[in-house]
Amino acid sequence: MLEIRDLRSGYGLIEVLQGISLRVETGEIATLIGANGAGKTTLLMTLSGQPRARNGSIVFDGKDITHTPMHNLVRLGIAHVPEGRHIFPRMTVLENLQLGAFACDPKNFADDLDFALTLFPQLESRMAQRGGTLSGGEQQMLAIGRGLMSRPRLLLLDEPSLGLAPLIVRQVFDTIRLINRERKTTILLVEQNAFQALKLSDKAYVMVNGAITLSGTGAELLGNSEVQAAYMEGGLAQTVPA
């Protein structure tokens, strides 16, 4: 469904992505893990056209989208839930969700709203509340719910666990799996929480300094000693009792 070949991009003189190639098949959950500054977010942003790709190609469903601007991707079926939630703080939860369906056929709105609310029942009682007054976890749910309102075939999730309590993180990951199963939505997940992310992914990539160093199925990487040492020191122990 998504194929990235030898992608290079960066900001000014700094080249962040130094030739990334990866594939995401239809219906799977693919995960990209890596430390701070590895270039994970830059990869997703380059997918969305900002910064521009300097080299290489991005093909979605057989269509070259390397230079497609971000605001046209939704119509192609790609929803990007950016890092740090980026909800509309002064607008209500309902308005946030409506804006998620901005580029889409309004006749699907009621169904999509129902789906978002079955995924995130907490949002239902908060519909008339301003987005900015939600808790961090609720804001993340709203951001994901808003992304789903456009019925994407590919969902790009950038660090959905950022700054959330462990219990909420687990809930968010459960929901991601649910979205994948229920709607057959293909998901490209970027995460620092390697353990949780690898557990639910069909395929995973490890990114170091702007290049993919390791790839395999989620289970393979979960068992890889290098990955364990680099990204899950203590992480495993922490999550066992839970």
Binding site: S48, Q50, P69, M70, H71, N72, L73, V74, R75, A79, H80, V81, P82, H86, I87, F88, P89, R90, M91, T92, L94, E95, Q98, L99, G100, F102, A103, P106, F109, A110, L113, S125, R126, M127, A128, Q129, R130, T133, R146, G147, S150
Partner: protein, 422 residues
């Protein structure tokens, strides 16, 4: 409990009265008399008495209202279920809005209202219209524009030049002036697409000045600093406001009075302002209005949801400018004379102050702020050279009292009941 409350209120009011008495005694109670025999001391104890009574009663009323205010059912934040069904604050705003419209309509017929008041309110309404237009750009789309007066000027000069050179009527020029101003809005919009905040403010400020300087220097077209004179006044469906046969008064069998034109202009701008307000109110709940607000909130989120920031920004600039163009052509026809002096930076500042003071996005807030900012300086005229001081002081007080503007609450444009059907 109610008795305890009012007792506490009474005690508090009494304390305030005593403090007022202590303060008023030296401040109001004594007076220096300058007579032929030299200075002597006079007493004004009655003033002290009035001050004490005034403060006592005022404090009591405030306390009682405040108690009620504190005891009112809290909604929005914690009780979302209630807020969903009864946006009570917006209902009172709704009533206030209709009351204001009603007052505006009967204003010229009120006994204490004379020509001057109507004329002054006409000016206030021009600023209501300008504020509402700028509100699209600043309040809704979040683009800080310090050169808004440029579009006002474009509108005014468009009307004046079209009417003087091509003999077109006001009603044909009005939409044309709006279109010209909107075109200038897009013209300004393009170079500033990538700018936000301070940078945008500086460039728009420069744009406003450029337009003014062009008006001063393009002598052959604009008349330079002398401006344009003899701009045709509007007619009532072809009937001119003049004495003699064929004039408005003659046809309707009235005695001719120059006040008739003033009253006509008042109703004209009232209608224009109401149309502007209704338009903006409506457009807020349309996709384009949503998109403006979303852009103000978060540009990255906008992009990720498929909203194109370029078109959103340009449409905000264009529509905001169009309303300034309408207001400008009305201004030109009302004055009969325009010069670049009317379109200096201070105008932009006042219009922006109206939007900010009104609460960035609130329609009623804008009306209140326009009355305050445009109306008050005129009523302060008795203060002579202290007028601007009083004006500045009033603004400081308002900003202390309501740092978010007079009415800063944002009314949601969607309610749940609608959601299912839309």
């Amino acid at each position: 409990m109610a008795r305890g409350l009012s007792l506490a209120a009474l005690r508090d009011a009494a304390a305030a009265g005593i403090v007022a008495g202590l303060l008023a005694l030296p401040l109001l109670g004594f007076r220096l008399l300058d007579s032929a025999q030299g200075l002597s001391l006079g007493y004004r104890l009655s003033w002290v008495f009035y001050a004490v009574i005034g403060v006592f009663l005022g404090r009591l009323v405030l306390n009682l209202i405040g108690a009620k205010w504190a005891a009112r059912p809290r909604s929005t934040h914690h009780n979302a279920a209630m807020a969903r069904f009864t946006p009570s604050a917006s209902q009172s705003e709704y009533i206030a809005g209709w009351a204001m419209i009603a007052i505006a309509f009967v204003l010229p017929f009120l006994p204490f209202v004379d020509r001057n008041v109507v004329d002054r309110m006409t000016l206030v309404l021009i600023y209501v219209m300008l504020g509402t237009g700028l509100n699209i750009v600043v309040g809704l789309a979040g683009l800080l524009d310090l050169g808004y007066v440029a579009f006002y000027a474009v509108g005014a000069y468009s009307y004046a030049l079209l009417a003087l050179n091509f003999d077109l009527s006001f009603w044909i020029c009005l939409p044309l002036a709006g279109i010209f101003a909107a075109a200038f809005g897009v013209l300004l919009g393009f170079p500033v697409l990538r700018l936000r905040g301070d940078y945008l403010a500086i460039v728009t400020l420069g744009f406003g000045e450029i337009v003014r300087v062009i008006l001063i220097n393009w002598q052959s077209l604009t008349g330079g600093p002398n401006g344009l004179v003899g701009i045709p006044r509007p007619s009532f469906f072809g009937l001119e406001f003049r004495a003699g046969a064929g004039g408005f008064a003659d046809v309707f069998g009235l005695a001719f009075s120059p006040a008739q034109r003033i009253y006509f202009l008042y109703y004209l701008i009232l209608a224009l302002a109401l149309i502007t307000i209704a338009f903006v109110q409506r457009v807020r709940s349309l996709p384009i209005g949503r998109a403006w607000e979303a852009l103000r909130e978060d540009e990255i989120a906008c992009r990720s949801l498929g909203l194109n920031p370029t078109t959103i920004k340009l449409s905000a600039f264009a529509l905001g400018a169009a309303f300034a163009g309408f207001a400008g052509s009305f201004f030109a026809t009302r004055q009969g004379f325009i010069s670049p002096e009317s379109f200096s930076f201070i105008e932009s500042a006042i219009i922006l102050a109206i939007v900010v003071l009104g609460g960035m996005g609130s329609q009623i807030g804008i009306v209140l702020a326009a009355v305050l900012l445009v109306g008050l300086p005129e009523w302060f005229r008795d203060l002579q050279q202290y007028r601007m001081l009083a004006f500045g002081g009033a603004m400081v007080l308002i900003m202390l009292w309501r740092p978010q503007g007079l009415l800063s609450r944002r009314t949601p444009t969607a309610k749940l009941a609608e959601a299912g059907s839309s």
